[in-house]
């Protein structure tokens, strides 16, 4: 047997993971260099992909599946804004697809893979642009220890500018600042720092970001000055969805 025949003989052993540690190491070294072996192994993996189901299913103990769900979602370490930006983007795409009368033939193309959804997002931008012709007023209350304030947004869709009013909040602690963010399909876009004075509302006029798709909503966070970057890292105090 020549050296390469050894690999071929052991393809199934590799897939079944029944090779010894040293043999496995040889394989892992070989595979990146050998397309034939990689292909062969993929085929074996595919052909044997249901083999594990030879084992009888085991009924989980009561409460186990719920425990799994809670554990998985609790450890979801995506930043808070991604947790709702992505479903929102999907919901908007679904709405767009239905609204445009997209047929089932296109359903594959309209998958929720946001990373590759440039075309859909362009179309989405148009749709939400139309929606934005209707002026909106959004409001969120912000309660904390010893204060009760809020944030209001007046969305002027003709000029694509928002007036943002933040009121009733205490001054930011030393080394921190309030920050306003736009929520867009590709993530969060920095709006502005909000200088809060407890005695007067802070009023900002912000132009909607142009290059990140339509704005779905907004968020107010408390950021540490040394951490302020292009995405929020701090505690979210309020969010509003269009």
């Amino acid at each position: 047997m020549n050296a390469h025949e050894w690999y071929i003989e052991n393809h199934t052993g590799y897939v079944a993971r029944s090779l010894e540690q040293n043999e496995l190491a040889l394989f892992e070294e070989h595979l990146p260099r050998c397309e034939n072996c990689r292909k062969a192994i993929q085929e074996i993996e595919r052909d044997l992909s249901w083999l594990p189901m030879a084992v009888k299913p085991v009924a989980p103990r009561p409460g186990f599946t719920r425990q799994v769900t809670v554990s998985v979602l609790d450890h979801d370490v995506r930043p808070w804004w991604r947790r709702w930006v992505e479903p929102l983007a999907l919901a908007a795409m679904i709405g767009l697809a239905i609204g445009l009368g997209v047929t089932s033939r296109r359903s594959g193309a309209l998958s929720s893979k946001l990373a590759v959804a440039t075309e859909q997002l362009d179309a989405l931008s148009d749709t939400l642009g139309i929606m934005q012709k209707a002026s909106r007023v959004l409001q969120a209350s912000i309660k904390g220890d010893g204060y009760e304030g809020g944030m209001m947004i007046f969305a002027d869709n003709a000029s694509k500018r928002w007036k943002v009013i933040v009121h009733g909040l205490p001054t930011a602690p030393a080394g921190e600042a309030y920050h306003f963010w736009f929520i867009c399909p590709d993530g969060v876009v920095k709006g502005a720092e909000v200088n809060v004075d407890p005695t007067h509302p802070a009023i900002l006029t912000l132009t909607l970001p142009q290059d990140f798709g339509p704005v779905y909503g907004a968020s107010l966070t408390m950021e540490r000055l040394k951490d302020v970057g292009s995405t929020p890292h701090g505690r979210e105090l309020a969010n509003l969805t269009l």
């Binding site: 199934t12 052993g13 249901w50 084992v55 799994v68 979801d76 697809a97 929720s112």
Partner: protein, 210 residues
């Protein structure tokens, strides 16, 4: 998009008991979109099978549960790397689970596990021919289990044993040789023949179709 496509899917899938390729792809899409209900569905559907895999390899049921939990963590975090080929989600999850269980198994001192394994191995022949309990046959995916069991049942008995120890107990070739008291070369030959036959029998099974 999904509401539109469901219409076409429901007519095609009407006669299927559970999880056609289309349904599975929809589940994968929804997982990609971070739909938490899709995660709950996946956990409900896949847990019994994944627990079956981990409990067959690990003697400790708590450890078996841990591995299943880890597999779902991986599924939720890395769903984008699951093959998007048709019907690829469940096999991927099975593979992730089995690999994690093998990693865990190999991280242990094996002699303890081996002792327990020898006990359970005696049950294997019975398990293959055990009559189905009525509720088991209604388990989503049971028809796949049936097909796979039938394919294994077609193998000569000594090949069944080798496959069982390699694939379902996570032993290496040399461990199987030791367990069965046969030469290493014989183990490799039996496994190669057995997996070759199983590929022929199962390669067309792409789906959870009834």
């Amino acid at each position: 998009m999904q509401a539109v496509s469901k219409q076409t899917r429901s007519t095609r899938g009407a006669s299927r008991r559970f999880l056609s390729v289309e349904q599975e792809n929809s589940l994968r899409d929804r997982l990609l979109a971070r739909d938490e209900r899709a995660l709950v569905e996946l956990i409900d559907l896949a847990t019994p099978w994944l627990l079956g895999v981990t409990q067959s390899m690990l003697s400790d049921p708590h450890e078996a549960e841990e591995i299943v939990m880890e597999a779902f963590h991986i599924a939720w975090k890395k769903i984008e790397i699951a093959p998007d080929a048709e019907g690829g989600l469940m096999p991927w999850l099975l593979r992730v689970t089995r690999n994690r269980a093998i990693d865990r198994l190999r991280a242990h001192r094996r002699h303890i596990v081996k002792t327990k394994r020898a006990e359970t191995y005696a049950d294997y022949g019975e398990r293959v021919t055990q009559p189905l309990e009525p509720n088991e046959a209604g388990q989503p995916g049971w028809h796949v289990h049936d097909r796979v069991q039938a394919a294994i049942g077609e193998l000569p008995h000594e090949q069944q044993k080798a496959v069982h120890l390699a694939f379902f107990r996570g032993l290496t070739h040399s461990e199987i040789a030791e367990e069965l008291g046969i030469p290493l070369g014989t183990v490799k030959t039996r496994l190669r023949l057995a997996f070759g036959r199983l590929r022929g029998a199962l390669g067309s099974l792409k789906d959870w179709l009834v």
